[in-house]
């Protein structure tokens, strides 16, 4: 104890307090353990993995969770898909974030397109229904492009919100 006190006074005299600030008891204990046989019981080093749970709960998950159940629509306007798929010849799956896969595209600064992805089944029936619906909405025949390989549908013009509402009302 006297030795540790002597070391502490030396450190204070040297005047480098900010660099290595250790508690006096710890430095005294470690010094005592390294130099002589451990006489004090409090110098024993113990390992415990119980605190690792605080690290584990910080590690992020990889899977996207299922959305919580809302009564009706969520505050943002999001609606879940219908319990059973609608009895139509085509099916439009939700994206991995549980949204309707309709996206708007703008290329060359003035070319507006709407893209419907993740279509399964009869894509031509979907194209007919989309054309019919947009004719009621806008009053004109819009050009569409069906890609049977990637099962996507492109429509000229920005109709993202209208198509999303229409597909949500159908139950997709």
């Amino acid at each position: 104890l006297s030795m540790s006190l002597g070391l502490l006074t030396l450190r204070a005299l040297r005047g480098a307090p900010g660099l290595c600030r250790r508690t006096p008891a710890a430095t005294g204990g470690l010094r005592a353990a390294s130099s002589a046989a451990p006489r004090d019981k409090r110098a024993v080093i113990t390992e415990s993995t119980e605190e690792y749970k605080f690290v584990e709960r910080l590690i992020p998950p990889t899977r996207i969770p299922d959305p919580p159940k809302h009564v009706g629509a969520a505050p943002s306007g999001w609606t879940p898909p219908a319990e059973s798929p609608p009895p139509l010849p085509y099916m439009i799956r939700r994206s991995r974030m549980h949204n309707i896969p309709v996206y708007s595209d703008l290329t060359h600064g003035n070319r507006r397109m709407t893209l419907v992805r993740k279509v399964e089944g009869d894509i031509w029936a979907l194209e007919k229904d989309v054309k019919e619906y947009l004719r009621q909405v806008t009053g004109k025949e819009l050009p569409t492009q069906v890609n049977e390989v990637t099962m996507t549908l492109k429509v000229k013009g920005h109709f993202e919100q209208e198509l999303k509402d229409w597909l949500a009302s159908k139950g997709f």
């Binding site: 584990e56 590690i59 992020p60 998950p61 990889t62 798929p85 799956r93 390989v149 990637t150």
Partner: protein
């Protein structure tokens, strides 16, 4: 002459145009196909019917989408050469019944071939060819074309430098997006399933370490010319290792080694039930995962 050539070329016109009006599956009459292209015996065993008496050994672990139903297949054994199927198994449609995207298959196959390629073709530029530092003749007065070194171009000396040739070890490394490669695996499995080249087996235990036994088993069951046996664990039993050691067309791989090139190279793919579970778990995870915050090699809480 013109009238004669028109007459000759329009002779078979009626026969040629007839094919365009007939059904889509009509093959052209002058097409010669090899007789062993499609083995009719392989297609004799249809997929299991709805009301089959055999037990359903395995159901899909993952949640199925509501509008899709699982694919059903027979589960065989390798214990005896001619044995009846043990039961049925259900396969997830999002792994074994996806749309057959041949363009993705092609992309993944070419990636697999080219990303490892390093071409060592190298030619020397005029500065690297030995010699040719001195101006061969003076600029003006000799009557010949003006040149600065003998190594610049062919008319001077044949060992000249190549200006725009291949330059040293060149790497063709590129990576396709992870999801494209995963989709390639799913498309390959689905295509094999659709063509009835995919078989499920309970385990890869055979009674004898004899290669002939395996070959006769494959021939009896009309699996195909080349067979790829896939198991989950990296340790295989001694019998199967010895049996496939000397066979060129029958190969073993662990499930982590499954790739599109091997699946296209071998005609038949044999999966065990554990392999099916492993593949479904790993391949379906990509459909419902976040994009990575840090590489997937580092720990995550629920990495499959």
């Amino acid at each position: 002459m013109l009238r004669f050539s028109c007459l000759v070329f329009s002779r078979g016109a009626a026969r040629r145009f007839a094919s365009s009006f007939s059904s889509e599956t009509a093959l052209p009459p002058n097409l010669r196909l090899p007789s062993n292209l499609v083995d009719p015996d392989r297609l004799k065993r249809p997929p299991p019917p709805e009301d089959s008496s055999l037990p359903l050994i395995r159901k899909c672990d993952a949640a199925l989408p509501a509008h899709l139903s699982p694919v059903r297949t027979w589960v065989d054994t390798l214990e005896s050469k001619d044995s009846e199927p043990l039961g049925l198994t259900e396969l997830h449609p999002d792994v074994f019944a996806v749309t057959p995207r041949l363009d993705i298959l092609h992309a993944v196959e070419t990636w697999q071939r080219n990303y490892k390629r390093i071409s060592h073709a190298n030619t020397k530029v005029r500065s690297e060819v030995r010699g040719g530092g001195r101006k061969p003749w003076k600029q003006k007065g000799s009557g010949r074309a003006r040149h600065g070194s003998i190594r610049s171009c062919p008319p001077l000396k044949l060992n000249c430098g190549v200006s725009h040739g291949p330059r040293g070890p060149n790497s063709y490394y590129y990576m396709l997006p992870m999801k494209v490669r995963v989709q390639g695996l799913k498309v390959a499995l689905s295509s094999k399933m659709a063509q009835q080249y995919l078989h499920v087996v309970d385990s890869l235990n055979i009674p004898t370490p004899d290669s002939q036994y395996l070959l006769e088993l494959i021939r009896n069951r009309h699996w195909g010319e080349s067979v790829l046996l896939v198991d989950v664990s990296q340790e295989f039993s001694e019998n199967i290792l010895q049996a496939t050691a000397n066979l060129k067309t029958v190969n073993l791989i662990p499930a982590i080694g499954l790739n599109v090139h091997s699946m296209l190279k071998h005609e038949a793919i044999i999966l065990t039930l554990d392999t099916v579970r492993f593949l479904e778990e790993k391949l379906l995870w990509h459909d419902e995962r976040y994009t990575f915050l840090y590489p997937f090699k580092l720990p995550y809480s629920d990495f499959p």
